[in-house]
């Protein structure tokens, strides 16, 4: 018999993709039987630039440009690593403010992911609604940091801006609005029949595979693998502000969406606690010296675990900055999930991974 399969490309440029990534699906009819991926379109060479072009105190702003969505987590992870190497401590207030921005970032990133998943599932109205409501969060971010996307908020020793009392009130106001909306989305995601056709049981990752492929972030938590770096680290005050790990069992798109929705609610709760219980003190401490030694810092980005390995040699230039981004380590798991699915679902599945290719390729 002759050939039977067709090759369907998804990317590099495709309407359902925000970033260039290339999947080549080998399909029987529309059923995917083979996946070939190419993730290197956005490779710019940041790791090298961090050790050759920029001094250590500027690197925090450079690594933020790795990814617009999780810029803050990149700069945080790097800054913490640098502070470790310098042997410095930040004040409690700075730590709280950092956490506030991180969680706001998580909220808007998750909302973007949810809306994009809906868009790719052909639910335009939901996309518009979530994108519209996301502006509430963007507004707070702009008020706090001065920019909508690339904040440059965190610096070595603390943060760059303080929040005022009115701003605190505004934050609480907007968060309450968002919380109300999120409850509505939850209702929609749970009860809309066409969404359940599109999401339930589609693109599922079993718990076994989650362990095998070292799944991380919402992908792992949706499959029932209890892993969240916020639970496994000590340099941010998550224990005090009411962090709860959100779990689902089934591992499909629906479960991932539910994990994200639950996390948004938890993050709103945490932000509220931060604003209400913000400690007094300075937002920035002066730190002197040059980084020396090596360290590993992990942090939970919206997409999962982010890791920085930084090695200093006592001069202004670093020896090595190794960035392991969440999407990077999930790619093998992605390919596994696509097998056996319909091509029609592929964009929605891909969006539900919330892939961040500019993170991956650096």
């Amino acid at each position: 018999m002759s050939r039977k399969t067709i090759n369907i490309p998804l990317g590099a440029q495709h309407i359902s993709l925000l970033e260039p990534v290339r999947f080549k699906f080998e399909c029987e009819n529309e059923k995917i039987v083979g996946v070939d991926s190419d993730v290197g379109f956005v490779h710019r060479g940041v790791e090298r630039a961090c050790t050759t072009k920029f001094k250590f105190d500027a690197v925090g702003y450079v690594v933020a440009r790795i990814c617009g969505l999780c810029a803050i987590t990149h700069s945080l992870a790097y800054t913490v690593a640098a502070e470790n190497l310098l042997g410095a401590q930040v004040t409690a207030k700075a730590a709280y403010l950092r956490t506030l921005l991180l969680e706001l970032d998580r909220i808007h990133s998750h909302m973007l992911c949810l809306s994009h998943t809906c868009e790719n599932a052909g639910f335009e109205a939901m996309f518009m609604q979530i994108m519209g409501d996301r502006e509430l969060v963007m507004e707070i971010q702009e008020l706090i940091s001065g920019n909508r996307v690339q904040f440059d908020y965190i610096c070595i020793g603390g943060v760059n801006r303080d929040i005022t009392a009115e701003l605190g009130k505004k934050i609480l106001e907007n968060l309450t609005l968002v919380e109300k909306k999120v409850r509505e989305y939850k209702d929609e995601f749970l009860n809309n029949w066409s969404l359940s056709l599109k999401f339930r049981g589609v693109g599922a990752l079993s718990l076994e595979d989650a362990y095998r492929f070292n799944a991380i972030g919402p992908l792992a938590r949706a499959a029932g693998l209890q892993t969240d770096v916020r639970n496994e680290m000590s340099y941010l005050p998550y224990k005090e502000i009411g962090f709860v790990m959100q779990m689902q069992e089934s591992g499909d798109i629906h479960a991932r969406n539910m994990v994200r929705l639950d996390e948004i609610q938890n993050s709103i709760e945490m932000c509220r606690n931060i604003v209400n219980g913000l400690p007094e003190g300075e937002i920035i401490t002066k730190i002197k010296g040059k980084p020396q030694g090596e360290t590993i810092v992990r942090y939970e980005a919206p997409r999962g675990e982010l890791m920085y390995y930084v090695k200093g040699n006592g001069s202004a230039m670093l020896d090595r900055v190794r960035i392991k981004t969440p999407t990077f380590s999930s790619i093998p798991a992605f390919s596994e999930i696509f097998l056996g699915q319909e091509y029609a679902d592929a964009p929605a599945i891909l969006a539900s991974f919330d892939p961040c290719l500019s993170c991956t390729a650096k």
Binding site: Q13, L18, V42, C67, G68, M131, R134, R148
Partner: protein
Amino acid sequence: MFRKFRKKSPWILHYNAGSCNGCDIEILACISPKYDLERFGVINTGNPKQSDIFLVTGPVTFRSRERLVELYTQMPEPKVVVAVGSCTCTGGVFRDMYNVEDGIDRYIPVDVYVPGCAASPELIIDGVVKALEVLEKKTKAMEKPRKLFSEATTKEGIVDRRECAQKVGEADAKDTE
């Protein structure tokens, strides 16, 4: 006669040539209800063959440059290229990194530069509206491919866009005479 309608129905094609996706999510935000680009008749087609405005973000990486040019050539004239974000205009923070080509105007002619890291939705909309004006003024003569390929490199093998643009202007002046 039809030219004035170009302005009223710009369809956009968006390509990320290696940006940090900050600008991309802002483009997405432009479509959202708060900014609503569709007021201007904008549709995000995602298909080069049916687009008029090419929104590019990112400091063209080594691997995406071929795709960039390929997409550009598939768009029918008249078309306008908008470079969104600082790194798209000049390479920005990524300038001189080993896998980066320092801005898209080395490869395709850019009509509107939108600065910002990340460019905010207001700026992007402003850029698109500027692009509409350019779109209306475009003539066939401006679109000749010589702009792209002929005499486009200097000795070091680097395109000097400004010089090329001047040359094209001269040629047009001759054409009209």
